[in-house]
Amino acid sequence: MSALRKNYILHNKVRGDQKLARICLLLMRLPRSDEEAERMYGMAHHAKEQGMDVEIYLLGDGVFCAKKGQKQNIRTALEKGIFVRASAKDLRARAISKEQVEPRVEIIEDLESIFVEDIMEKADRVISW
């Protein structure tokens, strides 16, 4: 899905004049293998600037985004008030310790469970990469 199309979805109104209030973004791919992680960050920042609550979920290879010290890392998103959650199981599978993860990233053992509840009960939109 193109960035343009995803931005259209972001701006699309839910019902009547009600604007989107909460958006969940799920990243399952490596941050440097293509532009998708950058697009997700761009969309997250844009949504936050529009006043939305933004939650980023990192699953599978997406957990590499949670590592400290990257040039364009998740810290900017965290500083803007975006919530970031990473799968504990996937961090362990990739030998990434808690000490290597950005401090404000929430590490969750059963991320899939929390994610399902969030997208089905709270989020207005969910987009996956």
Binding site: M1, L26, M28, L59, G60, D61, D110, E112, S113, F115, V116, E117, I119, M120, E121, A123, V126, S128
Partner: protein, 136 residues
């Protein structure tokens, strides 16, 4: 099962084949969690994603996608597969069987329903949320 949320539906679309990436694993795990919580789950296999429907998958160390789809179907998940994509990859072995009410396929899981992309349109019209897995 949580009472009162049974009428909500999560639709999941898979574009990637299993064992090439973890997309199929993530789809299955999310679907399992959603069903545990009492949501309806509908899955659409598209493009190389149709390989997830293959019978007798026996990965030695990886998560078994075929077994997971079978379990999900047994629990009530609806699994649809793109007819054209399945034909292209050799899963369909003849014309529609009126008696059986389905396309013949010895290679695909029995619980998979073959349909055109319009089946996906029906799915997203009913779904409360849609997630895609793999390159689109």
């Amino acid at each position: 099962m949580v009472e009162g949320i049974r009428n909500k539906t999560l639709a999941l679309m898979l574009f990637s084949s299993p064992y090439r990436s973890q997309y199929a694993d993530h789809l299955c795990r999310i679907a399992e969690k959603a069903m545990e919580k009492g949501y309806n789950v509908e899955i659409f296999l598209y493009g190389d994603g149709v390989h997830a429907q293959m019978n007798n998958q026996t990965p030695k160390t990886f998560f078994n996608v075929g077994e997971s789809l079978k379990r999900l179907a047994e629990k009530g998940a609806l699994i649809k597969s793109c007819l054209i994509c399945s034909q292209a990859r050799g899963y369909i072995e003849g014309d529609f069987d009126e008696k059986l009410g389905k396309y013949p396929s010895s290679k695909a899981l029995n619980t998979v329903e073959f349909c055109t992309i319009y089946g996906f349109v029906d799915m997203i019209l009913k779904a409360d949320k849609l997630l895609t897995f793999g390159s689109s």
